[in-house]
Symmetry: C2
Subunit: 244 residues, 2 copies
DNA sequence: TTGCTTATTGGTCGCACACTCAATAGCATC
DNA sequence: GATGCTATTGAGTGTGCGACCAATAAGCAA
């Protein structure tokens, strides 16, 4: 009954099909790496011929860049939602397709309507642990591949700017609310991100267990740069549920 | 006179040939990336058939891992020479072939016989600027590729340990000499390296100019962790010759 | 000089990739 | 129900890769 391949063509709306392709590519990129985003792979994933993918993306590199941009944007929105971005969502229907946020909705401590300090603590708490590993892997992947792929390089630069901007905005909010104290919100944001990058590069390697001081580097950098008392941002493990 | 290909076989000592292959692979890895280390590419570089390369390296992955290890070791020795490693060199002739250190011999400020503080300042001074970019690129490359290549992953872990150990040793020397003050030399070393990694991941992307505070992050981390006064380690650009 | 070991060649195979393009068939519209 | 647009297929091209192996010749030893 199921031995013959399905020959039935499913003809879809170009915009919807394109969105579907991008979403699939983003998922593959996040889970397996950008080099697995190939015409064949994505075509197979969607039960569609490779030629169709190249119909929507004349060059494969475009798809790869789009996949990265999509995945990174989704993760940024999940980890560091823009202030005031509640459940309503801006411009429903108009927004380009994005990979579905994996499970954990930012409802509660990380919600965009909480205070800057709480939001920052929540963000930093999410940047340690296995949950963040896939994102670290994606960034390393993209940063390396940027060496050879101009289009991807540009997308990486744009995402960098987005993450930097989002964090800077959070810091400005905190300064305005009197929770943070810094003369250079952008500089503080960059420093925190540099430390996060440095902490994240080891995901693909087996690294000896790190002391708490190292695991807390992003936290202590933020505390120092934002004029917060030590431990104001919590400990990496204390924000999470207790390990089984 | 030179139209016909050279058919003359040059038969070399296996050890020498192997060393030659590794050195070439390391150079290609450093200059163009680990994915350019292929049987064909290295064979062409040495005017030799690809089959010969696989004769010495049954799996291509082994060669890639070896190339990385070789390049990284050479760079470590150049940037952070082991204390007491002067011109004599340990066990001459026995050491495996390494890519030739590129020009700048560590004679002077960075020499292994200088004091720990001077050596550290020299090292940090070398980690900013275009000179270090190739090394940053290599590390990102290797860290990403480690995701798919177990042999390389292990080599990366070994190199990480080597860099960490070398820096820790330098710090211990400094503590013993009364120049540094820390209760946890290893922790300090790791923190400095994390910051360096974080600063280095952007080499393949166009990034907006960074403020001095960011460029000095490794310096200030070291000063903080080693109980040094601010600016004790100099400024990134002041250690170098003046730009033209 | 002769012989022998083995470093080196030349060729082949299978695989995965991006890219091209004429032919085909869904599906909305009339 | 017929028609036309176009999303989708199928088939084929060329490239580069690692791996494999029998044949060959370089250079050392007898």
């Amino acid at each position: 009954m199921s031995s013959s391949v399905q020959r039935k063509r499913i003809r879809k709306d170009p915009a919807a099909r394109r969105a579907e392709i991008v979403a699939t590519a983003a998922a593959v990129a996040l889970a397996e790496g950008l080099e697995c985003v190939t015409l064949r792979r994505i075509g197979e994933e969607l039960a569609v011929r490779p030629g169709l993918i190249s119909h929507y993306f004349p060059s494969a590199e475009e798809l790869v860049a789009e996949a990265f941009g999509n995945a990174a944007t989704a993760e940024l929105d999940r980890l560091l939602p823009a202030a005031g971005a509640g459940a309503e969502g801006p411009e429903p229907g108009t927004a380009p397709a994005r990979v579905a946020p994996s499970g954990t909705a930012p409802h509660g401590a990380g919600a965009a309507d909480a205070g800057p300090l709480v939001r920052l603590r929540w963000f930093l708490g999410r940047t340690v642990g296995e949950e963040y590993d896939a994102i670290s892997r994606l960034w390393i992947n993209a940063r390396h591949l940027s060496r050879y792929r101009p289009l991807l390089r540009e997308r990486v630069a744009r995402q960098e700017a987005a993450w930097r901007g989002r964090l800077e905005e959070l810091i400005r909010d905190g300064v305005a609310a009197g929770e943070f104290r810094t003369a250079d919100p952008l500089g503080a944001a960059v420093q925190i991100l540099v430390v996060l990058d440095g902490l994240g590069v080891h995901v693909n390697t087996v690294t000896p267990a790190r002391p708490a001081a190292v695991l807390r580097m992003a936290h202590s950098t933020a505390e120092r740069e934002l004029g917060l008392p030590a431990d104001a941002l919590g400990h990496p493990e204390s924000t999470e549920q207790s390990p089984s």
